[in-house]
């Protein structure tokens, strides 16, 4: 866990340094005014100092740490940083966003729900999953598209025309 956190902080530190290097791209202030670069510069310097100190102290801690010998069987297995299901959930959500651009809300959403139910190890009958997917899609499309006149992704071509039937 400590190594992962160290990497997380390291990535943040690198991002802060990158942004700090781009501060000079922001136009300088008018005379007598605090320009648009001052505030982000204060925040970024603060972050660099905080993250720098934090990374160094954590790195030293990791180096000093000695493996603790526990009696066999007593040590709980460390929880993995992420499981395959976590990665698949993020990938599936990403695929859903891409699907929204092409297929639109009405087609992409039931497909997403059905596949996500499988990912969540939903034990119900596949037809039940299909019904849930379609029902949720129609209710959301009706509430947001018809009742509140909020735009939902329409997709392209024939899928776009199809959404005009609903909202």
């Amino acid at each position: 866990m400590a190594y992962g956190d160290l990497v997380f902080k390291g990535v943040l530190l690198a991002a802060c340094i990158l942004f700090l290097s781009r501060v000079s791209d922001i136009p300088p202030p008018y005379s007598g005014q605090v320009g648009p670069r001052v505030w982000p510069e204060i925040i970024l310097w603060g972050m660099v100092v905080l993250l720098g100190v934090s990374v160094i102290s954590q790195f030293v801690q990791v180096l000093r740490r000695r493996p603790v010998m526990e009696p066999e069987g007593k040590q709980p297995p460390p929880e993995p940083l992420f499981r395959l299901a976590n990665v698949l959930a993020a990938v599936l959500f990403g695929a859903y966003i891409i699907g929204l651009d092409f297929l639109g809300f009405l087609v992409a959403t039931p497909l997403f729900i059905i596949i996500f139910l499988r990912l969540m190890r939903y034990r119900g009958h596949p037809v039940k999953g299909l019904v849930i997917g379609c029902a949720v899609t129609l209710v959301i499309a009706f509430v947001f598209g018809k009742m509140f006149y909020l735009p939902l992704p329409r997709g392209m071509g024939v899928f776009r025309d199809f959404t005009h039937l609903m909202y």
């Binding site: 791209d25 972050m47 905080l50």
Partner: protein, 510 residues
């Protein structure tokens, strides 16, 4: 704001459409909080898209009702599952669940409804009384004072930091930096856009909020086995009898006072209020031995306290524009979405809206008292809905919420990115609330910092030594330094502890 305004507020809140919004908000708030893993905060976040095209009165009546309903709804899961619907309902499990095991789940639910409504009602009256004088003081504030207020609001992170203050500060830094991306609000200069068109508009806080709250929560629960054992499936909530009310009356009043005061203090919130209410109930009780085994007072005390904290926390939010908790930060964000800036100006420009919110919070507590038993009986059945079904629905609603902010698919990608970031934040124990507070307060702090310096002719010293500014900043520094000092002292004593123990066990140091 006068009594006439308040009366107008009641009339507006009771108009059929607004009343429907309010009732819907109450139902959704109770529903969301009743399901463990969703909670009132997530419920309000997911409801944000519904508010885009709706009148502000209806929006804030609904959100206030969701907040109030959410505080009560958490008790349903606490009583029936021993899993708090939200952290502030944790104390309710101590006596609520034993009551359910004894077959008295209906009684416990009824007491939760009654004490929540009474606590909320009394606290909302106090909210009206306290807010108006506070606004009169805040009217004289200039940019320097607002900057100091924003800084004070940000020091709330010290209280919500959790295990590590440094992690909370890192998250705050991210939250302060993100709103700087895009066009500068004063000069129109580009900042960190890297020539990418959609970044000109900057990051909207709603997709980030939805990502770290809703999407991260689902990602985190994916692949985990979630089992829930319901103590009493056929529970029917019933309001307490007169003799029972007489018995728990002093406890409810005591907890209401505690909850209201704690709610007004930034960041202390409902969780502390409920546990303090519970511990004071034990201290004052003649039958202390009954606590923890399923007594009515043990349910009434935390529920009255956490519901009293909700109107209390609206005081700094409405009067000063400083959110005291995660939920009020989200509500503050909804104000900004509608082009409204909470604080003294809101009371001057939109007194009817403020009066409607006040009236709505009072009315929704009445409404909860009348309908709460029926609603909580109904929603105790939602505990049967497996999380496997709720998870994809939450993701779809998250997508809709992010997309409808600006009709831009890029915002949905931002939601996904922050969902992943939120997942890692959860895994490495970075608190989320400081990020939200910084996202909301960051632009306010920057704008007033720069305006304050213009007024002070560029002199930081002149700006920060104005009397109110100096006092507010001194309080802010103390709020940050004291917990930091405690945490350093704790870590030092923690380091010495095992070493001492080791020397005692092994004097030779081998």
């Amino acid at each position: 704001m006068s009594v006439d305004h308040l009366m107008t507020g009641f009339v507006t809140a009771l108009s059929p459409v607004n009343f429907l919004w309010m009732f819907a908000g109450l139902l959704v708030g109770i529903f969301m909080a009743a399901v463990p893993g969703i909670g009132a905060e997530l419920g309000i976040v997911l409801a944000i898209p519904l508010t885009y095209n709706s009148p502000p009165e209806a929006v804030f009546l609904m959100m206030s009702a969701m907040y109030v309903g959410g505080m009560m709804g958490g008790a349903i899961a606490s009583i029936l599952l021993k899993i708090p619907g939200h952290p502030s309902a944790a104390a309710t499990t101590l006596d609520g669940y034993p009551m359910a095991q004894q077959g008295k789940a209906g009684k416990a639910l009824g007491m939760a409804v009654f004490s929540s409504s009474t606590g909320g009602l009394l606290s909302s009256l106090a909210m009206v009384v306290v807010t108006v004088p506070l606004v009169k003081v805040a009217v004289s504030f200039g940019p320097a004072e607002y900057f100091a207020l924003a800084v004070l609001g940000l020091t709330v992170i010290a209280s919500v930091a959790g295990k590590s203050l440094s992690k909370a500060l890192i998250v705050t830094g991210i939250g302060l930096f993100l709103p700087t991306v895009g066009l500068d609000r004063i000069t129109g200069a580009e900042r960190f856009t890297f020539g990418i068109g959609p970044l000109m508009d900057g990051f909207h806080f709603a997709p980030i909020l939805i990502g770290v709250f809703a999407v991260a929560e689902v990602f985190n629960k994916t692949g985990r086995k979630i089992e829930m054992i319901i103590a009493d499936r056929r529970a029917r909530a019933s309001l307490p009898s007169l003799s029972e009310i007489r018995e728990v009356g002093p406890t409810i009043i005591r907890s209401t006072v505690i909850g209201t005061v704690i709610g007004i203090l930034p960041a202390v919130g409902g969780t502390v209020a409920s546990f303090l209410g519970y511990s004071e109930a034990v201290r004052f009780s003649k039958n202390r031995e009954k606590f923890g085994k399923g007594c009515l007072e043990g349910v009434a005390a935390p529920e009255a306290a956490n519901n009293a904290a909700a109107p209390g926390s609206m005081v700094p939010t409405l009067a000063l524009g400083i959110p005291g908790s995660g939920v009020t930060a989200i509500i503050l964000g909804a104000f900004l979405l509608h082009g409204l800036e909470p604080g003294p100006l809101l009371f001057q420009k939109n007194p009817n809206l403020v009066a409607t919110i006040f009236a709505g919070i009072i009315l929704v507590n009445f409404l909860m008292l009348i309908s709460g038993c029926w609603v909580s009986t109904l929603f105790s059945r939602v505990l049967d809905i497996p999380y496997e079904i709720l998870a994809p629905i939450i993701l779809v609603l998250s997508m809709v919420g992010a997309y409808t902010v600006r009709n831009n698919i890029m915002d949905v990608w931002i939601t996904l990115i922050f969902g992943v970031v939120g997942y890692f934040m959860f895994r490495y124990e970075y608190p989320v609330v400081p990020l939200i507070l910084a996202l909301i307060l960051g632009p306010m702090a920057e704008l007033n910092f720069r305006r304050g310096l213009i007024v002070a002719h560029g002199s930081v010293f002149d700006m920060l030594t104005r009397p109110i500014t100096a006092v507010l900043l001194a309080v802010a520094v103390m709020a940050l330094v004291i917990p930091a000092f405690r945490s350093i002292r704790k870590s030092f004593s923690g380091r010495q502890g095992p070493a001492r123990e080791f020397k005692q066990i092994n004097p030779k140091g081998e």
